[in-house]
Symmetry: C2
């Protein structure tokens, strides 16, 4: 693949890495991704970005929880009754959260300990695989920015290339219907890109000085991940020019006191 | 360009259409875009999606307003004093809006008549071009879904190909820092993609049943539009498989009474 895809014009190419295996706890995820890339005849280059679905990170990090092992607290029982959900699931949601943002029957929106606001603290049951009939759910990675950095570092160690990594999830959002891909982890790129001082074509300073570039990448990757029943968890993006940065997805969390949109 | 870019794997290729001229009121925008595509040796095919920056739609539709022509109302003067903005600009913002969502010095977030919540009703001064020293601002298109449909229809009429069109803007959002591309107009694609009933690889029903696919496309296009000081207003996207649909960006506006994220 050339730097600009097939075209002499500025372009971005997103490619789904095929045949990512079903990930198990303690799998060497970076190694498996590199093997899948190689088997598909895909290369990674410095400047490429890998967008990885949260689910396979969580699986590799052993974040599967068997609901039969969960004993709900009294508080979880109370909330579960109000939202009409499994008290064991609610116990896990509350343990992952700083505060409840909204609840009503069928809905439990919380502020996750990682800072973002989402339904069910990002815990879900789909794509977990329960052949034995046990009820497992998958929690988010403990520190997705660190997970992204580990994968970035492992790829650098093995191939000597400097890639960006983002870890994506799908969130609902205020004001607008439909879920979109968002970055819950990032490494090696300006997740929040400060463009202050840059001028537009007429010499005016750009008004939108901070761009949520990691979320835009996650949304772009979400388009392709969603093309196969969530079966495409790793997307390779080529062609995006970004300044070097040690940005993190945590940079994208808007401090409550600065939130003028709520 | 092949259907899947350079790769035998599922992929998306986004290409910036170069040399879009400075758009003037009443320009034939579809014609100018097709001419720029042709000059760049780019083709459009059925199934392609064109993402077009709101600014050039607004310019073609004559939505430039000279601030010297605006007489602020008493209400606009009051609000302007509170938010420390030009009363004439505030007059335009209020005229474009249903309600004020939040105000404080320097900040005026409103619910636009089109349904979305954004700073300054999407009105901005950058990229407008005021060589004569006059102060012009650019309002959003009156009906961006209709604008998208007109461009889609014009391309169909001239080339016989069936493309999707989205009109994009950059919005800030609650909970998260940084602006991201969002779809304020759409035609010829499921802007809000209802995936209910689809199963994941383990046979579980997908939990996120409604995907904000037009916003994901807008975010992806935003990555590339942002690569050149807002000088790349038209992006051609190839490779996305979507069901036929007469979706609109208005489908993405979350009714207030369903908004559990606020």
């Amino acid at each position: 693949m050339s730097d600009f895809g097939l075209s002499p014009h500025p372009s971005l190419l997103l490619t789904a890495v095929p045949n990512i295996p079903d990930i198990q706890p303690n799998d060497d995820l970076a190694g498996l991704i590199l093997a899948a890339l190689g088997a598909a005849d895909l290369t990674v280059q410095t400047g490429d970005i890998l967008a990885i679905a949260q689910k396979i990170i969580s699986k590799a990090e052993g974040r599967l929880v068997n609901l039969t092992d969960v004993v709900p607290s009294e508080r979880a029982e109370e909330v579960a009754a109000q939202v009409d959900k499994d008290p064991r699931l609610v116990e896990l949601i509350l343990a992952e959260s700083d505060e409840i943002s909204r609840m009503r029957p069928g809905v439990l929106v919380v502020r996750h300990k990682l800072g973002f606001t989402s339904a069910n603290a990002g815990i879900d049951r789909s794509n977990v695989g329960a052949a034995d009939g046990e009820e497992r759910v998958l929690l988010l990675p403990v520190d997705p920015d660190a997970s992204a950095q580990r994968i970035r570092q492992a790829i650098c160690d093995r191939l000597g290339v400097d890639v960006g990594v983002i870890i994506t999830d799908s969130h609902g959002r205020p004001f607008r219907l439909g879920t979109v891909g968002v970055a819950i982890g990032a490494a090696g790129l300006p997740a929040l890109w400060d463009r202050r001082g840059e001028k537009d074509r007429y010499g005016y300073e750009l008004q939108h000085t901070d761009v949520g570039v990691a979320d835009e990448i996650a949304a772009a990757a979400g388009l392709l991940m969603g093309q196969a029943g969530e079966g495409l968890p790793v997307i390779l993006l080529r062609g995006l020019k970004l300044p070097p940065s040690e940005g993190k997805a945590a940079d994208l969390v808007r401090p409550k006191e600065l939130d003028l949109y709520r």
